[in-house]
Structures are given as structure tokens and as C-alpha cells.
């Protein structure tokens, strides 16, 4: 059986904040270890400050010097299988306060298995800085999709 991380994050706000904090700690550590600076680049709240609380997005990280971002969407099992991770590249253009950039969008149900895959993808994208073609191939190789 798959060990899910931050189970019930959509209904338990404490767990939700723990999941957010986990992603922040992950990016903080990666940035410190590889000597780059990142910042979150998309809102996670409504105008009145109330968070979306649905993992869409759970976390975003933009490395301006690379013109590359990572956009994490986290979901729960009622809409997906316990083992689910998908990813694609997207172009961010025309936003105020965000330089035009390429983003790696990762959509996952977080478990030990999918966490390891996400970490590999993020490392390739931000640290190894593989080209887009190579990244697309890595995404295709590791995706675990919901069986129909």
C-alpha cells in the first residue's frame, strides 16, 4: 500500500499548511545547496486573503536568473489513484511582475514514490538545467497516470 503524505490536506487546514511548509523547506534546501535564489510567483489566495486551500497551486518557485519556474499542483486520492504524477512544460508570458519564463508544471498525489520523482524532475529543471526537449523526455519516462 502506498504511504500518502499530508493526507486529507484539503479538509484539514493544519495539514494543508504543513504540506505548504514541506514544499517551501524542500525549495529552500535546494536553493541553498545549489546557490540560487527563488521566489513564489503565483497567488494562492483570493483577493480577501483567504487561501484557495485546494493545492491549485500548492507551491510555485521562480528562479528569475534562469527564467524558469516550478508550479506544483497537489491533489488527493478521490480524483486520482494513490500513485499519480504528471508533468508538462508551459510558457509564462505577459504577466505583470513576472519575466517571461518557462515553467515546469507538476501535478501529483504526494507519496514517497511520487515525491522522489518530483524531486528528480525539479533537480533536472533547476539544477542540471536540462533543455526543454530533454525535460519533456524525462517527464514522459516517469509519469504515472491514472488507469482508465
Amino acid at each position: 500500500m502506498v504511504q500518502l503524505l499530508f493526507e486529507n490536506f484539503k479538509i484539514d487546514k493544519t495539514v494543508y499548511h504543513e504540506a505548504e511548509a514541506w514544499w517551501k523547506a524542500f525549495f529552500d534546501e535546494l536553493a541553498q545547496k545549489h546557490n540560487f535564489f527563488y521566489r513564489p510567483y503565483l497567488n494562492t489566495t483570493y483577493r480577501n486573503g483567504v487561501p484557495f486551500y485546494d493545492g491549485n497551486p500548492m507551491f510555485t518557485a521562480l528562479v528569475e536568473t534562469l527564467h524558469r519556474g516550478v508550479h506544483v499542483l497537489q491533489d488527493e486520492v478521490e480524483e486520482a489513484s494513490e500513485l499519480y504524477i504528471s508533468g508538462y512544460l508551459n510558457r509564462i508570458v505577459d504577466f505583470d511582475d513576472i519575466p517571461d519564463s518557462d515553467e515546469l508544471v507538476i501535478d501529483l498525489v504526494l507519496s514517497e514514490v511520487t515525491k522522489a520523482i518530483a524531486e528528480t524532475w525539479i533537480h533536472a529543471w533547476l539544477v542540471e538545467q536540462v533543455d526543454k526537449e530533454t525535460m519533456e523526455r524525462l517527464l514522459d519516462e516517469k509519469m504515472i497516470l491514472v488507469s482508465e
Binding site: 497567488n43 483570493y46 491549485n56 486520482a80 504528471s86 505577459d94 504577466f95 511582475d97 497516470l145 491514472v146
Partner: protein, 115 residues
């Protein structure tokens, strides 16, 4: 000069790339946001619409329930049971504010006209 409130709603993935956008001096109202979503839906082929049935419904629910959303915001509506999550509807608020109820938008405009 670029308008203060801008954004787009897009159908993406699986070879589809269709969008509706806004660019205006006042925040986009929920009603206008829903109209843009409907216009986008009308651009889709039957197959594209069928593939995005859940995504369109989720996007509609988001706009209806939103209490105003500021840029930069991206919401990605996908259907995880539909193989790849890049078959999707994206809402991007790229500048300013969107999905305000009409009353709030009027107050916003009034305050801006005073400043």
C-alpha cells in the same frame, strides 16, 4: 498603453490551443468572466468540449465562487481521470483584478475616480 486589468482563459493540451482574453480599465466582473468561459466553450469542437467537460464545470464553479482574484494568479483545471493532466482549462489573471461581483467593481471604480 496596456490596460490595467488583463487576463485570459485558455483551453490547452492534446493539440488544442484556444483562448479568450480581456484587457480593460476596470476589474473583470464574474458575469463577464462567465461569458468569456462560455465563448471559449463555443470555440471548442465536440471532442475538445467532451474532453474538458469536468474542467469547464470546475472553472465555472471557481469564477462563481471567487471573491475577487488579483494578479498574478493561474488556476489550472484538469481531470486526473483523463490520462494526461495537460488536457486542461487555464485561467490566468495577468494584471489587475478579476471575478469581482458587480457591486464591488462599482465601489472599486468609484474609489479610483476619486483618487
Amino acid at each position: 498603453m496596456a490596460k490595467k486589468h488583463r487576463g485570459r482563459i485558455q483551453a490547452q493540451g492534446g493539440g488544442t490551443e484556444k483562448s479568450e482574453s480581456w484587457s480593460q480599465d476596470e476589474p473583470l466582473s464574474k458575469a463577464d468572466g462567465l461569458n468569456l468561459l462560455r465563448d471559449l466553450e463555443n470555440q471548442l469542437t465536440d471532442k475538445e468540449r467532451q474532453d474538458r467537460e469536468k474542467q469547464l464545470a470546475d472553472a465555472q464553479r471557481f469564477i462563481e465562487n471567487a471573491q475577487g482574484v488579483d494578479a498574478p494568479t493561474t488556476r489550472i483545471f484538469r481531470n486526473l481521470k483523463h490520462k494526461r493532466s495537460d488536457i486542461r482549462i487555464d485561467i490566468e489573471v495577468i494584471a489587475g483584478t478579476a471575478f469581482m461581483c458587480v457591486l464591488l467593481a462599482l465601489i472599486f471604480l468609484f474609489l479610483h475616480s476619486k483618487s
